[in-house]
């Protein structure tokens, strides 16, 4: 489904990726682990077409995406990928349900229909009753589940999650991961989750370790 081959990327003089190679199968849930500064987030950003590698190539569904221009990569991220980050993803002016509906609105869905579809996710993610809350009125776990709903609402082919439980306590983090994994499997969505927590990685089908800019270890679970 998605593949990186010998990807290299530097920030100024500092190399972040030194020839990372990785492949993710359709429907697979992959955990990318590694210590701080190892390059795991950078690898995720390259896979998602957020960053363009200096060398190597990235393919999605058999098509190179590192050679696409910014507009085409943006369209790809918007239409085919979903994202969940560690914190601060919700637009503070919008209610929770509007935040979830945002990708649908951006795709041109009418507001009433988008909100109706977004509302359905609130029940699935144990968020019922929080539809009209603003981000400032949600707990960390609730905000992260709203972000998860937003990442999945447009039924993406791949969901990229960068430390999705990094700002949550362990119990809430597990709850979020339970929901993430079950929802992704239900939809057949491929998941690439970056984490430094072994208990999060345990939810994945497979985990790889990034160290010094290279995917050094692959462990089958």
């Amino acid at each position: 489904m998605i593949e990186a081959r010998d990807v290299k990327l530097s920030f100024g003089e500092t190399p972040a990726l030194r020839g990372a190679t990785l492949a993710v199968a359709e429907g697979e849930i992959l955990a990318v682990m590694g210590p701080s500064g190892s390059g795991k987030s950078t690898l995720l950003h390259c896979l998602a077409g957020i960053l363009v590698p200096d060398a190597g190539e990235v393919q999605f569904a058999g098509q190179r995406i590192d050679t696409l221009d910014e507009g085409a990569r943006s369209a790809l991220r918007r239409d085919r990928f979903g994202f969940v980050f560690q914190f601060g993803q919700l637009v503070p002016e919008l209610t929770a349900v509007e935040n979830v509906a945002l990708p649908l609105l951006l795709a041109g869905t009418k507001r009433r229909a988008a909100v109706a579809e977004a509302s359905a996710w609130f029940d699935r993610l144990d968020l019922d009753g929080l539809q009209q809350r603003r981000s400032g009125e949600l707990s960390g776990g609730q905000a992260q589940r709203v972000a998860l709903a937003r990442g999945l609402v447009s039924r993406p082919k791949v969901l990229f999650a960068d430390e999705p439980t990094g700002s949550l306590d362990s119990l809430t983090g597990e709850h979020v991961m339970d929901l993430l994994v079950s929802s992704a499997r239900e939809q057949g969505t491929t998941v690439v989750v970056v984490t430094h927590e072994a208990r999060v990685a345990a939810y994945a089908d497979r985990e790889v370790i990034v160290r010094d800019g290279k995917v050094t270890t692959a462990v089958l679970t």
Binding site: A48, S74, F85, G88, Q89, L105
Partner: protein, 744 residues
């Protein structure tokens, strides 16, 4: 702690430096405007002193006999050249000890004259038959700056013999030249109303400075969140609230001091340009735009002090604890009661339509209270209106940009409105003033350029202006070349009626008579009733008339006079094609008919003189609009930057997920352009409503359209403001880049 505050202010990173620069620029702008206003008030007083000597002969003090002084004969009149006033003083010394005004070395003798520099230049470039022939003799020198109200003043001091001037009824014997402020002289008629200009300049300064204060206020909130987080971190390591206050005060004061110094620079750099603004009807000598020591001290100390106080007040809105920053209160949504003062103001002004107060004081109170209520009401109602419109936009939005922008505006309408409230004040005040002035000038029948009121010149021979025993010129004295001047269409003579001055302006019977045969040659001046041979007319064949009635529609009342040809000449009216050359040639020729009479002029020129001050105020209003719109744009731009900084994390995440930058631009555009445009429309509407109510109540005039110039100015200012906002948009791409999501 002060040292640390200084270090943080000037070396506290890019955001601190950016805030320092923006606040300093805003303070510089405000300081520059304040200094310009103070200098304008001082320059008005200085210019008035420059007018003083022209009241010689009018002020009683100058005509009192004095031992050792040879009196001089003195006759001052107002002539014109191509729309500009031309002051003419005929003088004649009766001895060597005659008083001499500043600016000339001695009184000119018969056949000599001194010209102001502007007139001196004209005499060299304009054909003599248009101007120079009015001043017989030779130019013996140029009048010095000390005698000039303005560098552009047209003045001439013409020498005559004492015998000639002694016979002129309006000539005075003077023993001194007036040098004191004409405002303090009861009978003085030439000069400025200092108080009026001081009040007007103060109102205009307020209209300009309010948007600047809003700008300064908005700028201080730039990066406020990050600054407060920094203060919280200091509290964590042991800084006391008092020390935090000192730090904030030092930061604000540094910006204010830098801005104040820069403001002085702005003022001195702009001074030559300011001197060119003829808000008193004449331009200024740049050296007259001075600041007194008190002005300088008040501004140099007052503004940094004000900034320090503002910094203290700003910190009261937040509680900075070692664990972070909390707002003391969440802003409550504005309530509908905020509409009450606005409605009350409109109702108050509307009440007086048809019920005009009897006294001037009553009228002033009535209209001022209404206008102030409307102005305060607009500022008070603004957030409520912003909230209602924003909620409407958000509720109906189908696109994310409108939804996000609408929600943000509705969440904190006070902040959204604050950025444009300065614009409301400036636009309301200036639209109301422009509306009232434009309509007043139009109703006072400033004639169309092709009307006879603008194209014809009248030379009147009022009996009281004739020298004792002298007779007015006769038809035979009319210069033979007058009819041959290119562009002259008719030369008409008006004779004296039995009654010289009409007792009632509504009575169409004028002080003159004309034959219907003559009148028929110039139908632009009206017509005779059927069967009439002679009609009663005004000396200029126009006279007072009802608004909306053109001179050509006038039907003059028939007269029973039969001895028209034997009556004395009252006036000569010359109809031209309206060209400047034709009018000035005619004026020059007519002046030779009656060299000491009232110089010939058109009705339009008389009207222009009476409305000149109003037109100048309108120009000032235009300056205010032009200046305040970009200032409001700056406030908006700064609030855009502050809003973007607040939301750079969620916006950058949205961009990572593939949201187009175009959508984020739409959000920013809607959040700023919509309030700007809506508020401008509301302020203009309210200003026009206030002007209309005032005109109907006080003068029973309808509101006239403001003209393309006004709307072009407002449109230009709005475009400039939107341009300033657009200039911030590249920042959006930069601060929402992937590195923000990675690093913030």
């Amino acid at each position: 702690m002060i040292g640390l505050g200084l270090r943080l202010a000037v070396a506290g990173g890019r955001e601190a430096a950016a805030r320092l620069v923006v606040v300093a620029a805003a303070v510089a702008l405000g300081t520059g405007l304040l200094l310009a206003t103070l200098a304008g008030i001082n320059a008005t007083k200085t210019q008035n002193l420059r007018y003083a000597w022209l009241n010689t002969g009018i002020a009683e003090y100058t005509t009192t006999p004095r031992a050792g002084v040879d009196p001089a004969w003195w006759l001052i009149r107002g002539d014109r050249f191509r729309g500009q006033e031309l002051g003419r003083i005929d003088v004649a010394a009766t001895g060597p000890a005659a008083p001499v005004p500043a600016g000339i070395p001695a009184l000119p003798g018969p056949g000599e004259f001194y010209a102001s520099p502007a007139l001196h230049d004209l005499l060299r470039t304009v054909p003599a038959d248009e101007l120079g022939d009015r001043f017989p003799g030779r130019e013996v020198g140029v009048i010095g700056d000390a005698a000039l109200p303005s560098p552009d003043s047209l003045l001439v001091v013409v020498g005559q013999s004492p015998e000639t001037l002694a016979t002129q009824p309006f000539a005075q014997q003077v023993t001194a030249v007036l040098t004191t402020d004409p405002a303090g002289c009861m009978r003085c008629i030439i000069g400025l109303d200092n108080t009026m200009f001081t009040v007007s300049l103060s109102v205009i300064a307020a209209a300009l400075i309010f948007p600047v204060l809003i700008f300064i206020g908005t700028a201080t909130r730039l990066s406020a969140a990050r600054r407060e987080q920094r203060f919280a971190a200091m509290r964590l390591v042991g800084a006391t609230p008092r020390q935090i206050t000192v730090l904030a005060t030092v930061e604000s004061t540094v910006a204010a001091v830098a801005g104040t110094l820069l403001g002085f620079g702005v003022f001195f750099a702009a001074r030559p340009g300011l001197a060119e603004i003829p808000f008193t009807g004449a331009t200024f000598f740049p050296s007259d735009l001075v600041l007194t020591a008190v002005n300088v001290a008040a501004v140099a100390v007052g503004i940094p002090l004000g900034a320090a106080v503002a910094a203290r007040l700003a910190l009261r809105r937040v509680r900075i604890s070692p664990l972070g920053v909390t707002r003391r209160a969440t802003p409550k949504p504005p309530r509908a009661w905020r509409l009450i003062p606005l409605v009350a103001g409109v109702a108050e002004l509307a009440y007086f339509v048809g019920r005009r107060p009897e006294t001037t004081d009553g009228q002033t109170a009535a209209y001022l209270i209404g206008a102030v209520l409307m102005l305060a009401g607009l500022v008070l109602a603004g957030p409520w209106l912003t909230m209602r419109v924003a909620r409407l936009v958000a509720d109906r939005a189908q696109r994310p940009a409108a939804l996000i922008a609408g929600r943000r505006l509705a969440d904190d309408p006070m902040a959204a409105f604050r950025a444009v409230s300065g614009l409301v004040v400036a636009l309301f005040v200036m639209t109301a003033a422009s509306g009232a002035i434009t309509s007043f000038v139009a109703e006072r029948a400033r004639p169309a350029g092709d009307s006879v009121a603008a194209t014809s010149l009248t030379q009147a021979f009022w009996p009281e202006r004739l020298a004792e025993g002298a007779e007015p010129p006769t038809v035979a004295d009319i210069p033979a070349g007058l009819s041959a001047v290119p562009g002259v269409q008719a030369v008409l003579t008006v004779r004296e009626n039995d009654r010289q001055v009409a007792q009632n302006m509504a009575d169409p019977s004028g002080p003159g008579l004309i034959s219907c045969a003559d009148l028929a040659r110039a139908p632009g001046f009206g017509s005779c009733p059927p069967g009439a041979q002679v009609v009663s007319v005004w000396q200029d064949l126009i006279g007072p008339r009802d608004p909306g009635v053109t001179p050509a529609e006038t039907i003059w009342p028939a007269s029973t006079v039969t001895d028209l040809d034997s009556r004395r000449l009252l006036s000569v009216v010359v109809q031209t094609d309206g060209s400047d050359a034709a009018k000035e040639r005619v004026r020059t020729l007519l002046a030779t008919m009656d060299p000491f009479g009232e110089p010939p002029a058109s009705d339009a020129e008389h009207q222009a003189s009476s409305t000149l001050t109003l037109v100048q105020f309108q120009r000032l209003a235009d300056v205010v609009i032009l200046a305040s719109l970009p200032i409001a744009g700056c406030s908006l731009a700064v609030s855009v930057i502050a809003g973007l900084t607040d939301r750079k994390r969620p916006f950058s995440v949205l961009r990572l997920t593939g949201v187009r930058i175009r959508m984020l631009r739409s959000v920013v555009g809607l959040e700023t352009a919509v309030p700007l445009l809506v508020v401008a429309a509301v302020a203009i509407g309210a200003g026009l409503l206030a002007a209309s109510l005032f005109l109907r109540a006080q003068l029973d005039y309808p509101l006239h359209g403001l003209g393309a110039g006004y709307y072009a100015m407002v449109g230009g200012g709005l475009v400039a403001s939107l341009g300033i906002i657009a200039a911030t948009l590249p920042l959006l791409r930069r601060i929402t880049g992937p590195e923000t999501a990675r690093n913030e």
